[in-house]
Amino acid sequence: MMGREPVTFKAPGADVSHPRRSPIDLIYDPKARGIFLQVLLVVALIALGVEIVSNAITNLQKQNIASGFGFLDRIAGFDISQTLIDYTNTSTYGRAFWVGLTNTLLVAGIGIVASTVIGFIVGIARLSSNWLIARLAGVYVEVVRNIPPLLMLFAIYFAVLKTLPLPRDSIALPLSSYLNVRGLTVPKPIWQDGIGLVGAAFIAGCVAAIVLGAWARRRRIATGRIFPSVWAGLALIIGLPVLAFFLAGSPVTFNAPTVGRFNITGGLTLLPELVALLVGLSLYTAAFIAEIVRAGIAGVPKGQKEAAFALGLSQGQVMRLVVIPQAMRIIIPPLTNQYLNLTKNSSLAVAIGYPDLVHVFAGTVLNQTNQAIEVILITMGVYLLISLVTSLLMNWFNARMALVER
């Protein structure tokens, strides 16, 4: 080739679009190779899918298992120990699914709030200038996060809650609450007429606080005068409902529990499974949140703090206006992960018998209907949806908090 043709220098890419292309050249063409590889992958995935589906159909037919989602309308016929929505054993499997889901969301919601509060306290304590407090917080984090959460649940449930006394020897707690092997019983609030006024006052307080905050901000930008809008806002949000509560004549009575011979009557009983799950998950996740908070606050450059002090801001203002907003940017993405982890870990409930989604649906319903594929797919789909929605919400929040670079 070289002998017959004059030597020309071509750009390396020119070969690719050479019009006379032999099949051999195709092997060395990255584009053609890419397409070939992808076709191979797609064909392999489809083949795997077809194989799985055909095997599943044969196996299901052989074992006489129905398929499809019709089972959701059939009568469940089992009881659930905690139901946030109406449910009896004559309800359908579909209803049981919703009961399980609401129970999961209950644990996730309370757990997220509790673990955030504990986690922030411990995380800030780890940065305390007080040596002892910082060390104690450090010991807490290092002990808790190196132990499986399931083990913590077992220890709390079987070794602590299950060894509590029987109902007739209940441990009396303040506020006429009782603790026994059947759970924690607290007075049950019974709302009377006029409670709507308190609710309306709460909403009005929130709206007023937002309006006040906006006004204070505008005035500060215009005149430079500072209005204590945080305290005033808190006073509105808390004060208005309290005022309304007394104006409406205390529209709430409590159904206090009474200790009987065999059981406690009245009151509101929290299942020991729920208590164990909440305590275990909150303590476990809090250890991780504490580390995130510590890293976030430590990640704000020292100069920011010093500059804020140099501007004459007070200690509280430095934290509130300079350090925390910047720390939150570091904190929020990993915090989202921890919230999702807590939600997913709430499925450990199945091990101690709390009726969450996995226990009710992927456990009892699956065993009764044998429709493993549909049940597991629905269960996984729900967790995927929760993950997706949570990360969308947190991404939106994160985008609002993110550094606006000019």
């Binding site: 992958l41 002892l132 083990l151």
Partner: protein, 378 residues
């Protein structure tokens, strides 16, 4: 200004000896600055001392002072105010380590543990020569040896069904097999997620995000309930193997994200230089990019191994007996050792074993991280 004053003084009469500056060192100054710098801090210190005293006192009292050390069964621990029931642990220790692995064959499990510890020490301790060969032994030769040692059936070794495995043995098998088997999956997924080819990329993203969005329990349920339905008629899997498949797929997705972090940290110039040298894709990744990326993410890999090690306890939900599972079984179904303090003793023991492993590994990850950042700074 102060110095000028001193000079004048020195010029006139003999300087009066000045008091030393307030002690900045010494135990009393340390206590002052670190524990009692303000009234609030003083109050916090007192509160902290009180909490520490309560916790330490309760722990020592339960674990040592009121503990029962000898006894043949649970009746020794049922006396009023008894603390930890240590004879329960000593009597069951073998079971907690090996499960129902036959007594006569336990040397095989021990030999596997020892080989693994030896190989791991070779890889983890810096300065040991021929790290590559040790790693190859650990990743390729050791699994084969361990498989035949533990299951038997060859060279005159008696077969031990996996139903008889249990305790720490299962915990370690699930964790180690999980991480080793998930590694190639994770590398493939991480490379796939950064691929230019859209189908490869979306398939990888889909798998990773799906697995990371669901709890491990549902993956285990899927592996134990759905997998048998997907296989051709007559093909059955061992229960342990099914759990291992679930764990490997799960861990693969998490590890893929760790490795992707490493891939993203490699400067573009490295990729471009490899292209300029005319290296093929496998050569570029295998010889240039991955060695650097994997070195960067060693701490991340150790951390996800810690998470996996803790997560192995979930296999008890699908009926395997790992360390926690076997402790739980001994507590709940062994009437001989029934006593009020047995459960807590068992959980504290299991928690302590898990804690030792996880804490040790996390300290190792931190140490490696410091070493790596040290080499980078030079």
């Amino acid at each position: 200004m102060g110095a000028g004053g001193d000079m004048e003084q020195a010029g006139g009469k003999r300087a009066t000896p000045m008091r030393p500056p307030p002690a900045g060192a010494g135990p009393i100054a340390w206590v002052k600055t670190n524990l009692f710098s303000s009234p609030l801090n003083a109050a916090l210190t007192v509160l902290g001392l009180w909490v520490a005293w309560i916790v330490v006192h309760a722990l020592v009292d339960w674990a040592f002072v009121r503990a029962v050390y000898v006894g043949a069964d649970g009746s020794a621990c049922t006396k009023e105010g008894a603390g930890a029931c240590w004879p329960f642990i000593t009597a069951k220790l073998d079971q907690f380590i090996y499960g129902r692995y036959p007594d006569a064959e336990r040397w095989r499990a021990n030999l596997t543990f020892a080989l693994f510890a030896l190989g791991l020490a070779g890889v983890m301790i810096p300065g040991v020569p021929r790290k590559g060969w040790i790693a190859a032994f650990l990743l390729i030769v050791f699994p084969v040896i361990a498989y035949y040692l533990l299951t038997g059936g060859v060279f005159g070794l008696a077969t031990v069904e996996t139903e008889r495995w249990g305790g720490l043995l299962v915990t370690l098998v699930v964790a180690v097999v999980g991480i080793v088997a998930s590694f190639p999956i994770a590398v493939a997924l991480a490379l796939g997620r950064r691929s230019r080819l859209p189908f490869v990329r979306y398939a990888s993203i889909g798998f990773i995000e799906f697995v990371r969005g669901v709890p491990l329990i549902t993956m285990l349920f899927m592996a134990s309930v759905m997998l048998p339905l997907f296989l051709p008629d007559g093909v059955t899997f061992d229960k342990l193997l099914r759990a291992l498949i679930g764990v490997a797929l799960f861990e693969g997705a998490y590890l893929a994200e760790v490795i992707r972090g490493g891939l993203q940290a490699i400067p573009r110039g490295q990729y471009e230089a490899a292209d300029a040298l005319g290296l093929s894709y496998p050569q570029k990744m295998g010889l240039i990019v991955l060695p650097q990326a994997l070195k960067l993410v060693i701490p991340g890999i150790v951390n996800s191994f810690i998470a996996l090690f803790k997560d192995t306890s979930l296999v008890l939900i699908i009926g395997l007996f790992d360390l926690l599972g076997i402790v739980q079984q001994a507590i709940s179904s062994d009437a001989k050792w029934f006593s009020p303090s047995t459960p807590l003793t068992g959980y504290v023991f299991a928690g302590f074993v898990f804690w030792i492993f996880c804490f040790g590994m996390s300290r190792y990850a931190q140490w490696i991280e410091r070493r790596l950042s040290g080499t980078d700074r030079r």
